[in-house]
């Protein structure tokens, strides 16, 4: 290389380009992951607050420990992988909060931390972080804990507002299952008061799955914002109602009424907040409906005939596994598609 020439004409400092160039479109609708995630947190707020009111300081501890440790694990995982740390986008908060709402009130702190670790580090970051996990992280954690620590995960506490003598130490679904095992009947009588207790959440159970009304308020907000679509929750709840309803008609003494099945347990939080998790549910409308029906049927089967009193978590996890296939086989029709849907033209 001629050094002389170099001296003569030193490489001019490149002038700053001023204009920005990118591919179309040049406008954006303004949605962002951060907005979506914090909206979900906001939507969960009523249920969270009500959980704290019903279960007191225990609930506050569970929620705080789980959420904070989830965020910490998220930051740690991203730091390990030298990825930008995005805890501010709220996705770890959502996972942590959902997990907390799925824990029994009064869970020991270490259980919460283990749960957060499973959810964030294993179910999410082993797959590459946000958007890549095939299974709902909070549910993986809940199920893993349920299988590994059955005692802790099923020691339910009464709410602060229950008459002390009415507490049997089980969730409504659990109580029914036990009763059925004993004499084949549900031992349940319908009263408006009991239904109201179920709706308001003054029953035993996980922190967040108790109050149907609080959950529905948040869900309405998400539906209005367009962050969840009606397909999954509606088909989920409807199919639970249908399956348990049919079973109820055939065996009214041995099966709880479909109304009871819809408002008790984790169905509402599952249908509106867990099954609708964007990452782990189908992207097509048809796929969503099949997904919801699948969730509902499996939930009912486990509830009615399975070993566990509650099947929402398992059902959603199993249907999570079908999502890639659902997406593949439930593609919407391409505008103007000819008879052969995806004809390869040469």
């Amino acid at each position: 290389m001629s050094t002389e020439a170099k001296e003569q004409k030193p490489a001019a400092p490149p002038p700053d380009p001023t204009l920005l160039v990118s591919s179309s479109p040049h406008l954006h609708g303004g949605e962002s992951i951060t907005k979506i995630m914090w909206s979900v947190v906001l939507a969960l707020a009523p249920a969270t607050v009500l959980g704290m009111v019903f279960f007191g300081i225990d609930a506050v501890i569970v929620i705080a420990v789980t959420t904070i440790s989830a965020v910490a694990f998220e930051a740690f995982s991203q730091w390990l992988r030298k990825m930008p740390i995005t805890i501010a986008d709220g996705s770890a908060v959502v996972t942590g909060l959902l997990l907390a709402l799925n824990m029994p009130p009064g869970s020991p702190w270490w259980l919460c931390v283990i749960g957060s670790f499973i959810a964030i580090a294993i179910a999410k970051h082993l797959y590459g972080g946000l958007g890549y996990n095939p299974f709902n992280p909070a549910l993986v954690a809940r199920v893993a804990l349920l299988v590994s620590f059955p005692t802790q995960m099923t020691s339910w506490a009464p709410t602060l507002y229950m008459p002390p003598d009415s507490w049997t130490g089980a969730t409504p679904l659990g109580a029914i299952k036990e009763h059925i095992l004993k004499d084949g009947t549900t031992g349940m009588e319908f009263t408006w008061d009991y239904l109201w207790q179920l709706l308001a959440g003054n029953v035993g159970g996980s922190l967040g799955e108790t109050s149907v009304i609080a959950l529905l308020i948040g869900a309405a907000f998400l539906l209005w914002k367009g962050y969840i679509w009606w397909q999954v929750p509606v088909s989920f709840i409807a199919s639970v109602f249908a399956v348990t309803g049919i079973a109820f008609i055939f065996n009214p003494t041995g099966v709880a009424s479909p109304v009871f099945h819809v408002v008790s347990g984790g169905l509402i939080i599952g249908a509106f907040y867990m099954a609708t998790d964007m990452v782990t549910s189908p992207v097509t409308k048809r796929g969503m409906i099949i997904f919801g029906v699948g969730c509902g049927v499996i939930t009912s089967v486990i509830r009615l005939w399975g070993g566990y009193p509650e099947g929402v978590s398992f059902a959603i996890l199993i249907m999570n596994a079908t999502v890639p296939l659902l997406d593949r086989y439930s593609r919407p029709e391409v505008f103007g598609a000819r008879r052969k849907l995806y004809e390869v033209r040469g």
Partner: protein
């Protein structure tokens, strides 16, 4: 009475037409130089007919068609050819263009101007006049008009649609053309319909332009065109969506509107067709919306092709210091520019100047599979899936998922919360698939 139907998908961007919606069309004084690219249409570029130093008159052909899918280009004013070289082009790459120094006399070439008996013209004569006039689709796609007017005999056309939807945000050029040249548009439209032998004549205008709808209805009078008020929805003006909204016919994938007996032309093209047939005036002028917060005085301008953007900016009061993006065409499908020395061409419907705070950057956060793109896609595709396979270079799978059916309207990237440049990735897949097909054949 035609009732428009909803097409699937679509988005509702902020329309931002307030900058220019009330401004009538202005003319710009003759600039000091013109740069006329030989390639102003989709298809083959024109072949140069002139040489350096030659004097040309306004309306004189500077280039002849380089094939059937090609159009001539004409001198926008009289003057001297200064140079023929590579110049910046709105498409982003340097292209051969002719630089003219105007003599400020604006002398017409012979035969342009006087009114002819255009109503007596037969279809072939109209088609020839349109080709000679260098007409292209003025909505932005710049597809040569005469090609659209030459459907093969086995595909009869019964419906002719004039596209006045102008669904792109910011733009108001078609809107104002309809307000100020309604009669021309109707007359030009009738000429083109005559070529096609179409009986069913429709004009689609989005409902957000009530004054244009009214004026066009008046101009259309009792016979001929029916003006249909369309839903305000992007991409209402996309050919396939417009045809569906007006006729419920679906253009088959990989097919053309003529496959369902329709031809769509932009209202601007119709006005130009009138000029070309009735006065023999070639297409060297068009209405361009200069708009956005990045330009000091937004305007609807009647600009000659070849006018340099820098001159236009000067005439419009200069740029805002905060300017970040200059887009030729609408902001949803237009092309962002790096050079301000690009010329106005036949397909330039508007130039949008965006300030830094209005630009949302693509940041390619991970897809959270929210399905917004699927919901927004007017073609019923799964943009996120095509995107994933394109990024992972599995183009054959992307093709299976219908990548080639994408119309690049941008609804997916517009609604993506992860700010993924979906359209760019789909475009990549399309380019790659096309290259493979070429290789295979």
């Amino acid at each position: 009475m035609t009732k428009p139907v909803h097409f699937q998908g679509g988005v509702h961007p902020a329309y931002n037409k307030q900058y220019t919606v009330d401004l009538s069309i202005e003319k710009m004084p003759l600039p000091k130089r013109f740069v006329i690219p030989l390639s102003q249409n989709l298809g083959a570029p024109a072949k140069c007919l002139v040489e350096k130093g030659q004097e040309v008159l306004k309306g004189q052909p500077l280039g002849e068609p380089g094939g059937f899918v090609s159009t001539p280009v004409h001198a926008p004013t009289s003057g001297k050819i200064k140079k023929i070289d590579l110049y910046p082009h709105p498409l982003g790459r340097g292209m051969e263009a002719i630089e003219i120094e105007p003599d400020s006399e604006d002398r017409w070439v012979e035969g342009c101007g006087p009114l002819r008996d255009f109503e007596a013209m037969d279809p072939d004569a109209i088609r020839k006049a349109i080709w000679d006039g260098g007409l292209v689709g003025m909505g932005g796609a710049t597809f040569p008009t005469h090609v659209k007017l030459s459907p093969p005999a086995e595909k009869p056309i019964d419906t002719f649609i004039l596209n006045g939807a102008e669904c792109e945000p910011f733009l108001t050029s078609d809107h104002h053309l309809m307000l100020e040249a309604a009669d021309k548009i109707i007359a030009g439209g009738k000429l083109m319909a005559k070529v096609l032998g179409a009986q069913n004549l429709l004009i689609g205008i989005e409902k957000n332009k009530p004054n244009a709808i009214e004026i066009m209805r008046e101009a259309a009078g009792g016979g001929g065109f029916e003006v249909v008020a369309l839903n305000v929805e992007y991409p209402q003006g996309a050919e396939k969506q417009l045809i569906y909204a007006l006729t419920k016919r679906k253009v088959p994938t990989g097919g053309l509107p003529m496959d369902v007996g329709c031809v769509v032309q932009n209202v601007g093209t119709a006005a130009a067709a009138y000029d070309a047939c009735a006065h023999g005036i070639p297409l060297t002028e068009r209405v361009v919306t200069i708009t956005g917060s990045g330009i000091n005085k937004p305007k609807n301008l009647l600009l000659r092709t070849g006018t340099l953007l820098s001159d236009v900016i000067e005439f419009c009061g200069g740029l805002n210091a905060d300017i970040a993006k200059v887009i030729v065409g609408g902001p949803m499908m237009g092309i962002s520019q790096y050079s301000l020395d690009i010329p106005i061409i036949k397909g330039t419907s508007g130039i949008v100047f965006l300030k830094a705070d209005e630009v949302t950057l693509f940041t390619s956060q991970p897809c959270i599979r929210c399905g917004s793109c699927v919901k927004g896609c007017p073609m019923g595709l799964l943009p996120t899936v095509i995107n994933a396979y394109s990024v992972n270079e599995m183009f054959d799978v992307a093709e299976e998922y219908g990548a080639m059916d994408c119309i690049e309207c941008g609804c997916c990237a517009f609604s993506c919360p992860s700010h993924i440049p979906l359209v760019q990735n789909v475009r990549r897949a399309k380019a790659e698939i096309q290259a493979r097909r070429k290789k295979a054949s």
